[in-house]
Symmetry: C2
Subunit: 561 residues, 2 copies
Amino acid sequence: MTADYFDTHRGMLDGAIQAMATRSAFSAFTESPSTRVHGDAPPREGKAAFEARLGARFELDQPGITGWVGEEISPYTAQPLGITYPQCDLDAQFEAADRALASWREAGPHARVGLCLEMLDRLSARAFENAHAVMHTAGQSYAMAYAGSGPNALDRGLEALALAWQAQSQVPAEATWQKRFGKQEVVLEKRYRIMPLGPAVVFCCASFPTWNAHPAIFANLATGNPVLVKPHPGCVLPMAITVETLRAVLSDNGFDPNLVQLVVDTTRDPLGKHLVRHPRTAIIDFTGSARFGSWVEANAEGRPCYTETSGVNAVVIESCESLSAMAAAIAGSVCLFSSQMCTSPQNIFIPAGGIRSQSGHHSADEVRKAIVAAIDAITSEPARAASVLGAIQSRATLDLVADWRQRGASAGRVLRGSAPYPHPDFPDAWTASPLVIGLDIARHELYADEAFGPIAFIIEAADADQALAQASSDAREHGAITAFVYSTDEAWLERAELAFARAGAALTENLTGAMPLNFAAAYSDLHVSGLNPAGNASLADWSFVAGRFRIAQARRPSSAA
Amino acid sequence: MTADYFDTHRGMLDGAIQAMATRSAFSAFTESPSTRVHGDAPPREGKAAFEARLGARFELDQPGITGWVGEEISPYTAQPLGITYPQCDLDAQFEAADRALASWREAGPHARVGLCLEMLDRLSARAFENAHAVMHTAGQSYAMAYAGSGPNALDRGLEALALAWQAQSQVPAEATWQKRFGKQEVVLEKRYRIMPLGPAVVFCCASFPTWNAHPAIFANLATGNPVLVKPHPGCVLPMAITVETLRAVLSDNGFDPNLVQLVVDTTRDPLGKHLVRHPRTAIIDFTGSARFGSWVEANAEGRPCYTETSGVNAVVIESCESLSAMAAAIAGSVCLFSSQMCTSPQNIFIPAGGIRSQSGHHSADEVRKAIVAAIDAITSEPARAASVLGAIQSRATLDLVADWRQRGASAGRVLRGSAPYPHPDFPDAWTASPLVIGLDIARHELYADEAFGPIAFIIEAADADQALAQASSDAREHGAITAFVYSTDEAWLERAELAFARAGAALTENLTGAMPLNFAAAYSDLHVSGLNPAGNASLADWSFVAGRFRIAQARRPSSAA
């Protein structure tokens, strides 16, 4: 029965495989939340489904339930969601995962990938509910919560699934092998089995959970591994919906739902270290802080470990075509979801002597002012601010912004203060426009590490080469996922490409216009490079899937021989 | 210039890729050393080239030479080879490797793979010289030293090269990506670069160095990583010849020869731990003892680490078609290179109640006697013994056999004593026929770990199911690369397949005849499974190459847009 799903959804899979071969644009899902596309009912029903969750238990029939916990607060209403989730005995969860493994392994890649495609389809049908869940936990704007945490994340899941399918197709299930030994023609029938490794623990972050979790979940499930999903305690609901959906698809098709389980913890009693140290944990996928990420990597003990932590993403400006277009692009990316994305730029390097554009020379001060003005243009209009900045996921981030306001004033110059903007729909929303601090390049201790949230540094360097050297060296040493440069000098761009390639930051050059600078496309943009401390979860190449299973083999003389 | 090599040798590469897709038999090289194939000159010249090495310095123009060392002794003549190799300052070697990396990286996959194909071709041209070098260091018979350590090993190298080519072909060098954002059609040109990780250290074993070293060397070189080859001090010459050949190909084509370097140490002052701990070591390939292998794995600290250590390979007999054919097959594999192969069977399990064959019932004693008699048949005829058993690589192995003779007599029953056989060509050769010890299954402490060399245990179990459970559990817990079963019961064979698949031992069923039981074919037979402590160097799937490089990316608006 499950094999039918493979055929039903074959178009999705083929589209993904084709897109990866050319690295061109593709989506199997609908990015727009517009009622013109979906009709009136799905958006309304999705919202209602979300609202029905509030103040209630989120029932999941998991093994060994010991209690119910939940501490989520909506960044839009500043009110607790009041949802509680089952907390389970960890050993019971791992045992259930292990028990579920055998039949899932024996189902084989074709059935598993088929069922995973069906899961994606079923998740897609809940994209509106997911959007509200993401809004009121992560704080994303409605548009981002729909597209970025829905279809875009599902595409990353499909991409991982396509990679996992390719990887498992390396060996045929059966082969005939023939070779002459002396006077004897030996004919062997060979069988190859895909062998999963065991339970995979998927850690999810608070601000953008589905985008990293979907690829990890589907890469693991498709290769036969049970998955324990461990969301951040401040952002559980989107992953609970995901787990609920996947468990339903498994049950509906005769598989053990404990192949996908939710592990819930609290800020006070975190379970992360127990999960990593658990002897049954076979694979670790981690998205989260650099500090805990380092601990996870140090304690992986040879188990496959795919990480995305954090980094200091830089913009280096050498020259540009249009100052205003460039400033608008940088401002847009700094504002986007209030810089709470792992790809958000933080350190904006400019030459002390200013830069040239098509309209002439601009002093460093003019460049700073242009960027600040472009940020003001976004934040000053509440409806636009709401759609771009969204809300701040955690009150701790608001505190961090206040701290940086003080440090910035003493160590450099506050070029732009942070302030709440009035959200048109949610008057109590936690909002904060970007804080912009001017620093000299010598104040490396201030900008070398991530300052999470709406905080940007405009760093003055002697010249663009010094800026490039510092930014790329910081990426290599301290981690970076993205980098951005502006230059009209082709030779300089070539040097920047090599510098950031060696540093392992995905580089975007001279981008202006409607596409957000840090938009990363499934099937085309590799994510974390593995070349610097920001992690190795590339999402988009074989390195993300090849270590999640092994191949076992048996051979015997052909009965036909 | 180097790109021409890709086209010149394209047939080799395509053959390998095609064979991997179907997992059928293929070789790009000539397995027979016969003068009917090669003519008279190449065998003679190869032998002369080997003899010219004896008693002299093996000149390699490596950086930071600090002295000359060499301690090889021929297992055939029991005389020192008298060859010394340059010992170099390790830091100087790593610095030279790092310096060599940039231009090799920039050459790109196409040029690198092309040049690696040329290297294989040049190594193939030295197969006779290599055969004598392997004979007089590893102790292999001439036929095995030619085929197994020459063409078969080169095929495994080509296989790794083909995998590395496939893995690097996942992304095109350039792509165009187009997507609509609001009212704007965004067109980006993307560039993808293959980024090597840095110097790879390749540890080689003493008894079969090229077979594991070639895949590791070519997987690393093809993906842009410099290689430091660290042979066992007792078996340096084959790897020195390899390094010399590869350095010449690099130099001849304008690349830095320090992309491939030899690291020589001595038994008294081993360098292994220094190499693993060296901060510049980016990748580790290890073939060797379980003890040092475990240390290597524990100290890899997240760096890619591909290992083959050792295991306890088992034969489980449930029933068979012909007792004599089965006994001959088992005996042949026990005798092959005196069980000094990582795939050699060690623990032969038989049911206490005996077995059935087409000719009726055979008691456990009859089975034991049939196996011993089949070994006798091979060892009693010196010419046959010489071609099958070869010599014993290390005097330590001869001591181990003597020790086990004592332990076997006290703990079980010596079913067959070990004795030297007179080698027809080399009267002083270190030879030893297999020691066969009968044990009860309860004496697990005796057979749970590897007893290296010509030592086999015939272990009596209550029945075949108990034997299967013990053998597969030992494989899983203590490591195993291969397993062998004999049964005419299809249901039992299915259970055995699953048990050994879960244990991660490559299973061979009911094989008799001319093919050695433990023959492993490039392109078709995966090597170490990664599912048990024997290691993870599969050689034949993406897991062996996907972690050796990363992909860096840059994108910019299309100038055509």
